[in-house]
């Protein structure tokens, strides 16, 4: 943090601002950057999904609004903002309004937990892994409340499916994460990241010892996100629009944003756990190789770390989109069966393997 702080103070001094101002602004700055980043990221993630799905099915995707359709989702966002908000007459008005917020607010916090680089780690508490799991579960509560408050049968079925799905897939994730905790001896995401660092790049990434865990977590996270092939709560061809059937305008947009920001956060979560987070895949950092050990290099390293972090995340996101384009949807009963009979045992096996590796590593 020191390098950036010094640089920031220098910048302020250049324009004759008092040094005290930096004390106030500097801690707030990351949060502002994060909130802005979230908005932009979600907008372009939606666009990217539409574009990629388009190209996978031999179409062009949106390409009329702005340069090659870059402004498409901006237009969508504005439109949703100004659309009429309908509250159905039989709905519980208070909960109906509250539900999208309950889904949306934890997502902002989730983004704060992730370590984007060695310094940009806003909520680095000793056990923020558990905090993350807790917050990542919260949107489902919003979905449940919203579906219940809508007073529509499709919404009810959708939200009950969502909660059943979340409960059964939370467990395999938790068990697989225990393997990671054993390997890294930490519940802190930054330390889990650092535990994967080595001079040979990916050699110590946890995907190698905990490969089964990765598969389990990957599948379970797709299920948690309610994405295809596990998109039962909003199964469009069955439940019209699932839990969000009665939502319109901005409230619907909040659900929409929640879905996509959770998608990004969970992809990043996978990267932190299994792909060495912000660590460079080459062992050393390119900035250090080019600029040596200067101040510039040290600042550039942060950006480079963020770059690697985002790059890995996008690869995972691309996989999510690819899977959506490929598979049909599962049946609701088979979905739960998959979790309890296959994924849960696999995650326990993974835990044993991790413990074994740790024990052997410790003995040597």
């Amino acid at each position: 943090m020191n390098y950036l702080y010094c640089a920031f103070i220098e910048l302020l001094a250049k324009y004759n601002f008092p040094e005290g101002l930096a004390l106030i602004i500097f801690p707030l700055l990351p949060f502002c950057i994060l909130a802005l980043g979230l908005l932009i990221m979600v907008l372009f993630l939606v666009l990217a999904e539409r574009k990629i799905l388009g190209y996978l099915t031999q179409r062009k995707g949106p390409n009329r609004v702005g340069y090659r359709g870059l402004m498409q989702t901006v237009a969508d966002a504005f439109k949703l903002l100004c659309k009429e908000n309908i509250t159905p007459s039989g709905a519980d008005k208070f909960l109906f309004t509250l539900a999208p917020l309950i889904a949306f607010i934890p997502v902002m916090l989730v983004w704060g937990i992730l370590p984007y680089n060695a310094e940009f780690d806003l909520m680095s508490t000793p056990a923020n892994l558990i905090f993350y799991l807790f917050l990542a579960f919260m949107p489902v509560l919003g979905i449940f409340l919203g579906g219940w408050a809508s007073n529509s049968k499709y919404s009810i079925i959708g939200c009950v499916r969502a909660i059943a799905q979340a409960i059964s897939y939370e467990l395999p994730i938790a068990f697989s994460l225990l393997g990671i905790v054993v390997l890294s001896s930490s519940l802190n995401l930054s330390q889990i990241t650092l535990a994967q660092s080595s001079v040979w790049g990916p050699a110590k990434w946890f995907i190698i010892p905990a490969f089964i865990g990765f598969i389990v977590v990957f599948i379970s996270i797709i299920a948690e996100l309610n994405r295809c092939p596990f998109d039962l709560p909003e199964a469009e061809s069955e439940l019209v629009a699932g839990y969000s059937t009665e939502y319109s305008g901005m409230r619907f947009a909040l659900f929409y944003i929640t879905e996509y920001s959770m998608m990004f956060a969970n992809a990043a979560f996978i990267v932190v756990l299994f792909f060495g987070g912000y660590l460079s895949p080459f062992g050393g950092y390119l900035s250090n190789i080019i600029f040596g050990d200067s101040l510039t290099a040290n600042i550039l390293v942060y950006f480079e770390q963020t770059f690697w972090f985002l790059l890995k995340t996008f690869v995972i996101l691309f996989l999510f989109i690819l899977i959506r384009a490929t598979y049909p949807r599962l049946q609701s009963d088979k979905l739960l069966k998959l979790s309890w009979t296959i994924l849960l045992p696999l995650s326990i096996i993974n835990l044993f393997i991790c413990m074994l590796i740790k024990a052997i590593g410790g003995a040597m």
């Binding site: 996978l56 099915t57 009810i156 009963d333």
Partner: protein, 361 residues
Amino acid sequence: MSRMKLNLGPQHPSTHGVLRLILDVDGEKILGCEQVIGYLHRGMEKMAEGMTYLQYLPTVDRIDYLSGFFNSYAYVTAVEKLLKLTIPERASIIRVLLMELNRIASHLLWLGTYLLDLGAVSPFFYTFRERELILNYFEKISGQRMMYNYFVFGGVRHDIEYVNEIMPIVKTIVEKLDDYEKLLTDNPIFISRTKNTGVLDREEALAYSITGPNLRASNSHLDFRSQSEIYKKFEFKIAKAEAGDCFARYKVRLEEIRESSKIIYQAVDILLSSGGEYNTGLNPVNLNIEAGEAFADVETPRGLTTCCIKSDGSGTPYRVKWRTGSFYAVQILPKLLTGNMISDIMAIYGSLDVMLPEVDR
């Protein structure tokens, strides 16, 4: 969630039209189901009574817009029977060729939309891309993409053109069919959703008057093409499966596309090697139709379609009745759905390939 009534439709994304199902559900389990149809009832049968035989001809394509040629064929043949008209051989071969192409187009659309119902996005786009090849060809010869109005009393409207273009189209489609099979036939999710769901055994299917691919998936050989005069010249196998579940219906339809392509190859060969009249040159405006009745049966992609015309000797039909395959496929829904889960509705209903305009007419 306890027991409740769930109203599915008439405007629901995967009923492909305007079917309404009133479901009696316990949680996700279906205990009972009542179908309500008629949301697309256009009074086609009454319409015929106020029109001349020729005026009614263009409208019959709309009875089942995915297989317009079949409806035209049924109507035209029934009128020809009333007129006691025999059509030239070339005309009948052209009719077979176009109907089989139409069958492929219809099955391709079914495949795409069925997978869309199951939640897979991409196959929809792929099959529509291939279907477009056929539609473009139809447009070239008839001037319309879906409502062809190409068959006339005593033959076809024009002699067929661009016959050379058919072979590459069909070859591409059959090649792509292998791709679809790679994507779907071994896909574990697809199998888990379709195998052993909606099992319909042969006796039940016959009792409920199910025909077409749905019946042939239940271990039956019934195909009205094999008795039809115009199909006598062609060699083809009758696609058949034994299980009677959704997967069997899928396999039968894919197999039918392959068999249709064989008929098309033969028809194209005959058309290229020989000439002949394509029309009897009958003036369709003033038809002298005696009192009587005539039936024409044709095997459409959705089962047996019968056009029954009763004439009282005047210029307009006295009564036209359409018997269509989907009408009976809708009827069997409560039998198949009861006891399944809500997510199975789409798997079962979609696999029956119901066309609502054909049901409501």
